[in-house]
Amino acid sequence: MTPGILLLAPLSLLPFVFIVAMSLSRVHLLGGVRFDFAGLANWARVFTDPDVGMAWVRSLSYFVLTVGIEMVLGVVFALCLWRLLRGRNAVLSLLLLPMFVAPVFVGLLGRFLTDSTFGLYAWVLRHLGFETDVLGSQGTAFAAVVLMDVWEWTPLITMIALAGLSSVPLSIREAAALDGTSGWQLLRYVVLPSISSVLLVALLIRSMDAIRYFDIIWVTTNGGPADATKIVPVRLYEVAFRFFDLGYAAAIGLLMLAVSILVARAFVRLLDRKGLAR
């Protein structure tokens, strides 16, 4: 284990210990970084701060919506591509393009497309009778940042699901067809169970990413309007790098880490039950 620990120590363990110490301190910056022990004050604040509490509620909503929509759309697109016999590679290449764009550019693109002065989507929406500015009201701004993330990452789910679908044995599908199963029954009882493990891995990857979503929101709405898109990572950034309250930011960050680990553990346990974790 020594080589592993030697590698991990500078990369993870020392920073982790540093962050834990930070979360128990008031951190002074000028004249060199200095920690003053503050006990559990930052941790007490994390659990009583209504702004952080609301940020968690928004994070949860965002997490459920993005990951849920991406999973459903990703599987639907994968099934469509699976059935496509000609031009599949060309369509798949086009479909995957958003995934290769940096999230900050996705945010900028979304902002330009919804800009009420020159945005294409804003123009289309205006002609459909929707006068409100997309990023200017709470509901539409939240929906917009969710959809930007969905646009970027649904292709990843599609790609993973398609890989899973390719491994469904033809013999089973033929046997099911001989037994007279309908398309829905084939999907429900043969295809989806066959790719469930792959989908679980896709879910795990996207979940870990969704918890720390930041770039698109920062570029488009800055957490507004009225805090409607201020999820935990945005709040964390604000506390750390706008207010420079690094002790409190460390506590928020560690709580985020704990939640990420719990979510990951839940998925790994599910995989374990299927005998796929090892």
């Binding site: 910056l29 800009d115 709470q138 709405t221 507004g224 207010f243 309250d245 690094l246």
Partner: protein
Amino acid sequence: MITPRSASNHRPGDLSRRRFLGGVLGGAGALAGAGLLGGCGASGSAVARHPEGGMWRQFAGSTLNFISENTAPTAAIAANVRPFTELTGITLNIVTLELSALVQKVALDLASGRSTYQVIYADPYQVLAPYAKGLVDLRELMADPSLPQVPLGVGDFIPTHLEAAGKFVSPDEIYALPYDCPTLIWQYRRDLFEKYRDRMAHDLGFDPMPGDASTWDQYYAIARWFNDNARDDVPYGTGHQAKQNDSLMNDFSNLLWAYGGDYFDNGRAVGGLGTVDPGPCRLDSPAAAEAANFYAKLLKVAHPASLTWDWDGLGNAFAAGQVAMCPNWHEYAASNEAKLPGKVDYARLPRGPVRSANMYGGTGLGISATTTADERRAAWLFAVWATAPEIELANLRSKAGGGTPTRTSVYQMPEVVAAEHRPSTMPNILTAPAVSKAWEPENIGLRPKIPMWNECDTAIFTQLSRMLAGDSGPDQAMRDTTDQINRIVSRGWVASS
């Protein structure tokens, strides 16, 4: 076959795995610690003094780093930095960033104890107030006979600029030389106002042309009139920078002060010299609630995208002909003139029941206190050069950007006075009559200069954003902001204490 080695196989003097690991980690820790301490002690300065070079060339061959917000004045300096290098022999690297990124870099640079950036764009509210202890008191350099003096003395800087951008708490210490001076003024489409002047005057019962007597109620009436009567020429009467951002606080503050409200008691002093303990927040006053009420009413008739615009968004929309008027930073005049030549004019912001208030957003050039003595001296050369009258004049003429001068003497130069009227070769100076009124002590708007301003600012624009979204009424928004600011102030400023 490999078998696990049992403990009994150890001989005295053998290095156990645990001891080896402990030793390696301890050594790594010691090395890291030594590296950090070493890093704190020596900065590997790229500045060396050659006294024989005389006052301006004593640091020839050195390199300085200047970190700045990506503003028009710095764009002009960056485009014309060669004269400085020719004068001093110093190579100047300029790093330009968006303001919040700049604040992060500066804070971390000061914390590291190594001055990567010797010259700092010291925003008075986000850099100077929180990190004043990390900046050099420039009086020590002014008193150094081996260095050039500030041309015409610091008294040539516009007094409100020197106080707001250059000082913190003490009236004597000077931490920054005023470098730029964006100020919120009333920008309006003169062509449209002239076209509809008579009709508006008839319908509204007053002369709509912006002037010293104009009021915010009249501004609102004009905005509505444009909405109702001039859609073919312009979609909306007014636009605002009401995104959940620093810009929203700026936009609202003009009204807060115009209605007689303020963030803290003795607001002029808290905004001027600043303080570390501003006392209780006063946003729960009736005047503040009245201002918030009017602001909410005004935003209801403004361009709906106002809720998504910061100053850049608003500037682009105004130049694109989306609104007939707006309050925005006066340094947008150059881009207005480029896109709407001859069609835009400027005035001081309207009066409220108490006064006209025009948010000042100027900044000074400071020098990092984590520099060596020679680095400070070399940095001083740049600070003096960049704020000299002839450079401010050159910035006005720059095609690359350029702000407006912070020195009284530059505004008095005949070519500058002549350029205040069209045709002008210095488009930003077209705003001079408006901003000179805005900078008068009774009209200037100075936000609180306190170390914890960033967090207070966030509380203000977040609550205002909630109010504009309909989540809370004006009274409630002001009360909630007051509570939040009182909590922030009572916690005190952590990072630099």
